[in-house]
């Protein structure tokens, strides 16, 4: 058999034109592998863990210097866990407390799980799924404990929605700022889990309950009070993200998902839900995630994410050339669907509607695009979102007028823009925040 294969195969690896001719016998009969591989030459062998190619570990072959003609090199055989192309460089941008998604490197509507932004208050917890439990107690008929398997037995649901940190705006960013740094604490996934209403029906909510505490099992034992209505609206306990188990940094093995609400309320590594007649006044809903507003007050339980948008391409440090440019970005709103994403080329005097990529989902990043023929003169392109409630994304000025210059850092969703310069550079449109 090996003889016959050898005859079919060219002597020099440089002239291997049909990889399947090599792969077929390699994969179908292990006994043939050694002889066949020897026959096609040592350079094809490189990177193959003969005699058991199936067991080869996953790292890609990173070539030194120029990449050889791929039609002349036997490629990697199928393996257990994929990795992205060695040429792709998109990365999160981490600080001590968070990491931002590379919005300007992404396409479409889904954020790859490995590039989903992070924000934790006590680092990433390691939770064993085998011993994981969720306790539901307080004002319920039957206090109960659910294992991960229990949660997975309940009817499941999937939903695509964004998740955004409440503090997602780099105020006073300089011209050399990437979209990732402007507002990269937002990401989108398809989440799968059980509707929280299903679990609450299982335990039987008492009529006097109106709030529940959601508590995580990280080093901060993160806790937030959530109005009960959200549980019967669209809240979920999710255990999967983009088709696989949720990532450790997203709360593995299970987290709360409150579509459209500020990220911090979507408690990760969820271990306990307690129903009550009143909020618990935890640190994250008093000291943090509250914002000063005019009238010497502070706004509390400000859950919903207001509509906003950002152009993701072309943006700094990208470059533009005269001629047709597809301006791309994302628009989203915690109140529902995006109705329009609009662009202005004249500092907000007039706006044109960009094309929305279907399907336009509620509480979801919605991709927009607009073809623009650039004549090479300096121009600033701004974007704004309008959602189905008619809410129009505000300017910095409108936000400051409504709340005061010292409000924030939460729920800041101003219109932003990018300047195309005659030399082809693209810079962030800077704005004074006051």
């Amino acid at each position: 058999m090996a003889r016959r294969d050898e005859q079919k195969r060219p002597a020099s690896p440089a002239s291997v034109t049909d990889p399947s001719a090599v792969l077929e016998p390699l994969l179908s009969r292990r006994s043939v592998v050694v002889g066949a591989a020897l026959a096609v030459g040592a350079s094809v062998m490189q990177g193959m863990a003969a005699p058991v190619p199936q067991a080869r570990p996953t790292p890609p072959i990173v070539p030194d210097g120029p990449v050889p003609d791929p039609t002349t090199v036997l490629g990697r055989l199928p393996n257990e866990l994929g990795v992205r192309s060695q040429f792709e460089k998109a990365k999160r941008r981490p600080s001590n407390t968070s990491s931002q998604s590379p919005l300007d490197d992404l396409y479409g509507a889904i954020t790859p799980s490995e590039l989903h932004f992070e924000r934790h208050h006590g680092g990433v917890a390691v939770v064993d799924p085998a011993t994981y439990t969720l306790l539901i107690h307080g004002l319920v008929e039957r206090p109960m404990i659910f294992t991960l398997d229990d949660l997975k037995r309940f009817p499941s649901a999937s939903r695509i929605c964004f998740l955004e940190c409440a503090g997602n705006m780099a105020r006073g960013a300089k011209e050399e700022t990437r979209a990732q740094q402007v507002c990269g604490l937002t990401s989108q996934s398809e989440w799968t889990g059980v509707m929280l209403s299903t679990l609450f029906k299982e335990v039987g909510v008492r009529p006097d309950a109106s709030w529940f505490l959601a508590e995580g099992q990280d080093a901060a034992v993160m806790s937030r009070s959530i109005p009960l209505e959200k549980a019967f609206d669209d809240a979920m306990i999710v255990y999967a993200q983009n088709g696989e188990a949720i990532r450790p940094e997203q709360g593995y093995p299970a987290r709360l998902l409150l579509p459209g609400w500020e990220g911090n309320t979507n408690v990760k590594w969820l271990r306990r839900l307690e129903l009550s007649t009143r909020p618990f006044m935890t640190r994250e809903e008093t000291s943090k995630y509250t914002e000063a507003i005019k009238g010497d007050k502070a706004r509390q339980f400000s859950f919903v994410i207001d509509a906003r948008s950002i152009i993701t391409s072309p943006t700094y440090p990208g470059r533009v050339e005269k001629g047709w440019i597809e301006i791309r970005g994302i628009a989203w709103s915690g109140r529902g669907k995006i109705r329009r994403a609009e662009l202005s080329f004249d500092e907000g005097k007039s706006w044109v509607a960009a094309t929305l990529q279907a399907p336009v989902l509620s509480k979801a990043h919605t991709r927009f695009r607009h073809l623009y023929e650039w004549d090479g003169t300096e121009v600033t392109v701004m974007s704004r979102a309008v959602d189905e409630t008619g809410y129009v994304q505000p300017t910095v000025r409108e936000l400051v007028d409504a709340r005061g210059p010292g409000s924030g850092p939460y729920h800041l969703n101003p219109i932003t823009g990018w300047r195309f310069r005659p030399d082809g550079s693209v810079t962030f449109r800077t704005e004074k925040w006051a």
Binding site: H121, E215, S287, A298, Y391, R403, G404
Partner: protein
């Protein structure tokens, strides 16, 4: 004929009730939680003091605990460091013009911003010391809570903080917090 119709109606309804995909009101998954299991996890402290354990502490007792376990990150007098925020500091006359003021020190501290004293106990028990969470005894937590309240000039150094006195402490910014009203309108708020 009439009887036959009535009978078939009954059969159809019965069949509909037995449809395999009609969800039950309960699935019977999971198991009952025992009181002991609930007690172990039920650590939250409410603004009314519900959940506060037995124990007590004063600022005097809290000073050495704070110096040993908190000061490296928060500063010896709670003034903050590059690692962690300030915990101490009032604004003259307890002014709360954070949103409109453009100058001066508008740091959000326990004394200037926190609306409930109970949050201190709840949070310190959960999350502090940052690098060794869950290591303080109830008396230590009461004592550092008393220490932070005293440093913020909200209670006296010898004031005893316990499950009864803590929820009764009135914080300077107690009445400053209002519910979010953004969704009542589609205007910018």
């Amino acid at each position: 004929m009439k009887r036959a119709l009535a009978l078939s109606f009954v059969l159809i309804t019965a069949a509909a009730c037995n449809r395999a995909d009609a969800p039950p009101s309960r699935f019977g998954f999971g198991r009952a939680a025992t009181p002991a299991e609930i007690q172990t996890l039920d650590i939250d402290v409410g603004p009314d003091g519900v959940g506060l354990p037995a124990g007590q502490g004063t600022a005097v007792a809290g000073a050495p605990v704070y110096a040993a376990k908190c000061a490296t990150c928060h500063g010896s007098a709670g003034e903050g460091t590059p690692i962690a925020a300030a915990l101490v500091g009032r604004i003259p006359n307890d002014s709360f013009n954070y949103a409109t003021s453009t100058g001066g020190d508008r740091r959000k501290t326990v004394g200037s911003w926190w609306p409930h004293a109970t949050t201190l106990y709840d949070y310190i028990r959960r999350a502090m010391p940052f690098d060794k969470p869950g290591t303080l005894t109830p008396d230590e937590i009461y004592a550092v809570t008393a220490f932070l309240l005293a440093k913020n000039e909200i209670v006296k150094d010898d004031f005893v903080i316990d499950a009864t006195s803590l929820p009764a402490v009135k914080m300077p910014s107690r009445d400053r917090f209002v519910a979010d009203d953004r969704e009542k309108s589609n205007r910018v708020r």
